[in-house]
């Protein structure tokens, strides 16, 4: 087993200030640890990895890690990443986004990246809230939960991110939680190795902006909630629909074998004769 703390020294930027900026108990740090372990497993060098992030608490990951890092505009990380990947297919691109970043303002880029099956790894840190701007509801805030712009409780049906991207044709879809940190790094390393567009949704506690307002207890309590409600997909499928309650599946949810965008584009280049140069 790869230990986070040791591995971390290899990947953290030494000139940044630690402890990092995230609140005590925030799950983003755990997710970043899992990401680093996953990358360590894949064996890619730091130079081969590009970490693209959006804007938000989770978007700050790009400041801390010693890769080629790009902190884009809010919601647009996938479009920047698309440009990088197509311009230099040798780079491995990991795109870190918050739930708001990826599914609110950035929803369109998400669904089109799935459709194009562009060879990127998207890591969506889903804390069910806009953390950075102070706790407004996001497209994944559960109905009736409170937020700074939903003091009477949210009335919007949340997205099931994994279902959404599946319908758009993503070729690898997986979910884990900060409690299931080992599973998270395993899924992430598979996602990075996967050719085509792959998505890992990491459920991550935001004790400060989401938990506190919704009486979800401490960071620990929130993780224990994940422990109780995250069910490995095979087992989840066996739960009778009426008994699902708040439970949700984790693990690999979709794994298709389809040519990715670049493979298809190379066919075009061949047709046009551009491969002969």
């Amino acid at each position: 087993m790869i230990r986070t703390s040791e591995t971390m020294y290899k990947y953290l930027r030494p000139d940044k200030t630690f402890p990092h900026v995230w609140c005590p108990g925030c799950g983003i740090g755990i997710v970043m640890g899992a990401l680093v372990r996953a990358i360590e497993k894949t064996g890619f060098t730091k130079d081969e990895i590009v970490l693209v992030s959006g804007i938000g608490c989770s978007g700050r990951m790009s400041t801390y890690l010693d890769f080629n890092t790009l902190h884009t505009t809010h919601g647009r990380a996938l479009s920047f990443a698309t440009g990088i990947k197509l311009a230099n297919p040798k780079l491995n691109i990991i795109v870190v986004m918050g739930d708001g970043d990826a599914t609110a303002i950035g929803g369109n880029h998400l669904i089109h990246s799935c459709r194009r099956n562009i060879d990127l790894t998207a890591l969506i840190v889903n804390n069910n809230i806009y953390g950075m701007t102070g706790g407004q509801y996001s497209p994944t805030t559960p109905m009736e939960d409170k937020a700074s712009t939903a003091q009477y409780g949210s009335i919007e049906k949340p997205f099931d991110i994994c279902k959404l991207v599946e319908a758009c044709g993503a070729s690898f879809v997986a979910r884990s939680t900060t409690y299931h940190a080992k599973m998270l790094d395993a899924l992430l390393s598979r996602a990075i190795d996967k050719k085509g567009f792959s998505i890992v949704e990491a459920m991550s506690q935001c004790p400060v902006q989401y938990g506190r307002r919704n009486k979800k207890g401490s960071a620990v309590d929130m993780m224990m909630w994940y422990k109780d409600n995250a069910i490995p997909n095979p087992a989840f499928k066996k739960i009778p629909p009426g008994e699902v309650g708040e439970q949700f599946p984790v693990g690999v949810l979709v794994d298709l074998d389809e040519p990715d965008y670049l493979e298809r584009y190379s066919q075009i280049v061949k047709k046009a004769g551009g491969d002969k140069l």
Partner: protein
């Protein structure tokens, strides 16, 4: 006798060919009249040279993608028109702030809003300077002919690489949609991204070098790992709020342009030496203006033309110099007077405008009218 490589080209086509000549290998865009031919042409040509063409889901992502491609070391561009250009503004500001070379073509159609999609205009001149939020620098070029659609596109890429800045090629719909016979230049200058002169550990992508020298942008993946952000950053690229670093970051954006005005600004003067009246015109309108100069000279009126080829930074000093000699500036534009506002900044008492917004080119006669009025 015509020389070699005499071609009949469409303005948009010439622009796309110019981009290829400049070494552009990545195009991302979203169709919009009257710029679509650029995308269509490149969708056929780029695969032939192993380059990338991608049609994105909108203009926001197109702008994002070309920034990404440029960071990966590939010369990139997009093309659009007013509505799409408005959507690109946020990411265009990112490119300015993060100093990412790229070229944005805006073939101007009648606005505002959906406006007149099939009619040309020059309505986005001020937007090209001020469209994104926050103080930022930008370089904007305006071709007057199909030939210049070709040559200025190359120039745009050169300036983008040289000054690590987005460069906008602002074509009016007439130039973009015009066919004209042109002779491609035999030799063109192409500036490629310079190699870094320091090893990775010494590399600060946003350093303020002495003498205003610009740090080369090393492509991602070449061992120079660094951070790129749209936030105000220090010389290494990381966010900062430290007073001096903030000022250095923002000032540099402005001064890298300001300190190189002589290199960036291109103008054309026509019959200005002895002129009493100076027409200031750009894009297709400059052609009407040149014809007006000829007519006026025939009538014995001392009229000349100043054509800013670089619209932004605006050639204010040229204008001020000329203003010492002439009695009047006449500024014809296919808008309500945008460059006219810039002329005012130098000589508010001496400038008149000729405006037209109905989607037709200003005629030489319209310009002559103003000149004759003034000559009375």
């Amino acid at each position: 006798m015509k020389g070699h490589k005499e071609l009949l080209l469409h303005g948009n086509e010439a622009c796309a060919m110019g981009a290829l000549a400049a070494g552009m290998k990545f195009f991302a865009g979203y169709p919009i009249t009257p710029s679509t031919e650029i995308a269509e042409f490149l969708s056929v040509e780029l695969p032939k040279i192993g380059g990338t063409f991608i049609q994105m889901e909108d203009e926001i992502s197109s702008m994002g993608a070309i920034i990404g491609a440029s960071l990966a070391g590939v010369k990139s561009m997009t093309a659009t028109s007013g509505p799409g250009f408005s959507l690109m503004q946020e990411n265009l500001g990112f490119a300015s702030m993060a100093e990412i070379p790229c070229v944005i073509v805006n073939v101007m159609r009648g606005g505002p809003s959906t406006g007149m999609p099939t009619r040309p205009s020059q309505g986005d001149v001020m937007q090209s300077r001020w469209g994104t939020h926050g103080a930022h620098p930008i370089i904007v070029l305006s071709p007057q002919s199909v030939l210049e659609c070709y040559t200025l596109t190359i120039h745009a890429f050169n300036l983008a690489e040289k000054y690590r800045s987005p460069v906008i090629l602002l074509m009016d719909g007439i130039v973009g949609h015009m066919w004209e016979n042109i002779q491609l230049p035999e030799k063109i200058e192409v500036i490629d991204r310079p190699e870094p002169s320091v090893p990775p550990d010494w590399y600060n992508p946003y350093d303020n070098l002495p003498g205003g020298e610009i740090v080369p942008l090393v492509p991602f993946g070449e061992g120079y790992r660094y951070h790129v952000t749209g936030m105000v950053h220090d010389k290494s690229g990381f966010p900062t709020l430290v007073h001096e670093e903030v000022e250095q970051c923002l000032d540099k954006l402005i001064y890298k342009i300001k300190n190189n005005l002589h290199d960036i600004i291109r103008i054309e003067e026509y019959m200005l030496e002895d002129a009493d009246i100076c027409i200031v015109a750009y894009g297709s309108v400059a052609r009407s203006a040149r014809e007006a100069v000829n007519i006026a000279r025939n009538e014995g009126l001392k009229v000349g033309l100043l054509r800013p080829i670089t619209l932004w930074p605006f050639p204010r000093f040229h204008l001020e110099n000329i203003s010492k000699r002439v009695k009047l500036f006449v500024v014809p534009e296919m808008n309500y007077g945008q460059i006219y506002g810039e002329v005012l900044k130098s000589c508010p008492k001496k400038a008149v405008r000729v405006t037209r917004v109905d989607g037709e080119l200003i005629t030489p006669a319209q310009i002559m009218e103003k000149i004759e009025e003034a000559a009375l």
